[in-house]
């Protein structure tokens, strides 16, 4: 959706966006045509976003509501209290018990 345009959010008179940042009136779907030949798929070949460990502060185990520890190499969030490891896929933590790895079975 590109509804953040002028219709929804009336802008103040001046919008000093000098650095070429996409202004509210620009069409946000289209990235600048600056991708040279080394990225043939264009927008499809975006960088894989990493998990931001800052998020750990906000997340708890949905089962125990206890704290989680971040296993960077396996890309998992571990709830030691019940022995579950929640996967992080494409930088997005998957906080569903049915998707978690049971550490006690290993």
């Amino acid at each position: 959706m590109t509804g953040e345009g002028p219709k929804d959010a009336p802008e103040k008179d001046e919008a000093p966006l000098a650095d070429g940042a996409p202004g509210p009136g620009d069409a946000p779907e289209l990235p600048p045509e600056a991708t040279p030949a080394d990225a043939p798929e264009g927008a499809a070949a975006r960088r894989p976003a990493a998990f931001d460990p800052r998020m750990l502060e906000a997340l708890v185990c949905p089962e125990t509501r206890g704290p989680l520890t971040y296993d960077k190499s396996r890309q998992e969030l571990i709830s030691h209290a019940i022995g579950l490891a929640y996967p992080i896929r494409s930088g997005i933590p998957v906080m569903l018990t049915e998707e978690a790895r049971n550490l006690k079975e290993d």
């Binding site: 959706m1 953040e4 929804d8 996409p22 949905p62 930088g91 997005i92 906080m95």
Partner: protein, 247 residues
């Protein structure tokens, strides 16, 4: 072991199966979900979401949890109005979040936006950790909406605000009849054309019709502990906004 039944559109299915069935619907339609919303509502859902933002009045410094946030629509609008706010988008379906994360707005707002796969009935967040909780066209897909409302209450800070946007019931029987005719005869074939998936859109229209009416849902908001609970009809009641405060 629970034989408790719940709704999946017009089917009655065991409660344990609903989450997976709903996830199936959204995995199937994720990439064309926003387009389909536009077609189904003639673009009106944008007006409804704008009305939601008007009532919410986002402020800088607030922390938003948008549940069933799918492709990020509500979070983008919230941050668009309050650029110094932060938002977490939580959805059961990874495919929906991935679709949202690659949108241009998401890149521009990456520093103030997080994406989490989670269940509205068992949120992976601490008590009292958000200023605003929104759920937009999502709560009717939750197996037990009351449990989701209770969870909303738990994760909101004292003084925090709940806002639910959902399809609702038209108070005028004639209008409801016309609307039913539209939704049951037009939407599933349109879904077939746009996403190649008629069954998912059949589910959507059935689930809309089965969702509690405005007053019933207001009672559920109050039962979760919210105060000053109120609702506003949108487009004569095709959709409704419910608001409540954790005081």
């Amino acid at each position: 072991m629970t034989d408790k039944q719940t709704h999946f559109g017009y089917e009655d299915i065991p409660e344990g199966e609903k989450a997976a069935r709903v996830r199936g619907v959204f995995e199937s339609v994720a990439s064309r979900y926003d387009l389909m919303n536009d077609l189904m509502s003639g673009g009106i859902h944008r007006v409804w979401k704008a009305a939601m933002m008007d009532w919410l009045a986002p402020r800088n410094g607030q922390r938003l949890l948008d549940v069933a946030g799918g492709t990020g629509d509500v979070a983008f609008r919230f941050l668009g109005r309050a650029p110094q706010a932060t938002a977490v988008v939580c959805d059961m379906t990874a495919e929906m979040l991935e679709a949202g994360k690659t949108r241009a707005e998401a890149e521009a707002m990456a520093a103030s936006l997080d994406w989490v796969v989670g269940d509205a009935m068992a949120l992976p967040f601490e008590d009292s950790s958000f200023d605003v909780y929104t759920i937009s066209f999502g709560i009717r897909n939750v197996t037990d909406p009351q449990v989701a409302l209770n969870e909303a209450f738990r994760v909101l800070k004292p003084g925090g605000r709940l806002m639910v946007l959902e399809f609702s019931q038209l108070p005028v029987p004639m209008a409801q009849k016309a609307y039913d005719a539209y939704s049951f005869n037009v939407i599933p074939p349109m879904g077939q054309m746009v996403t190649g998936d008629r069954a998912s859109y059949q589910y959507l229209v059935e689930s809309i019709r089965r969702f509690p009416d405005q007053e019933t849902f207001l009672g559920m908001v109050e039962a979760a502990g919210f105060e000053q609970a109120r609702y506003r009809n949108l487009s004569m009641g095709i959709a409704a906004l419910h608001s409540g405060w954790k005081l």
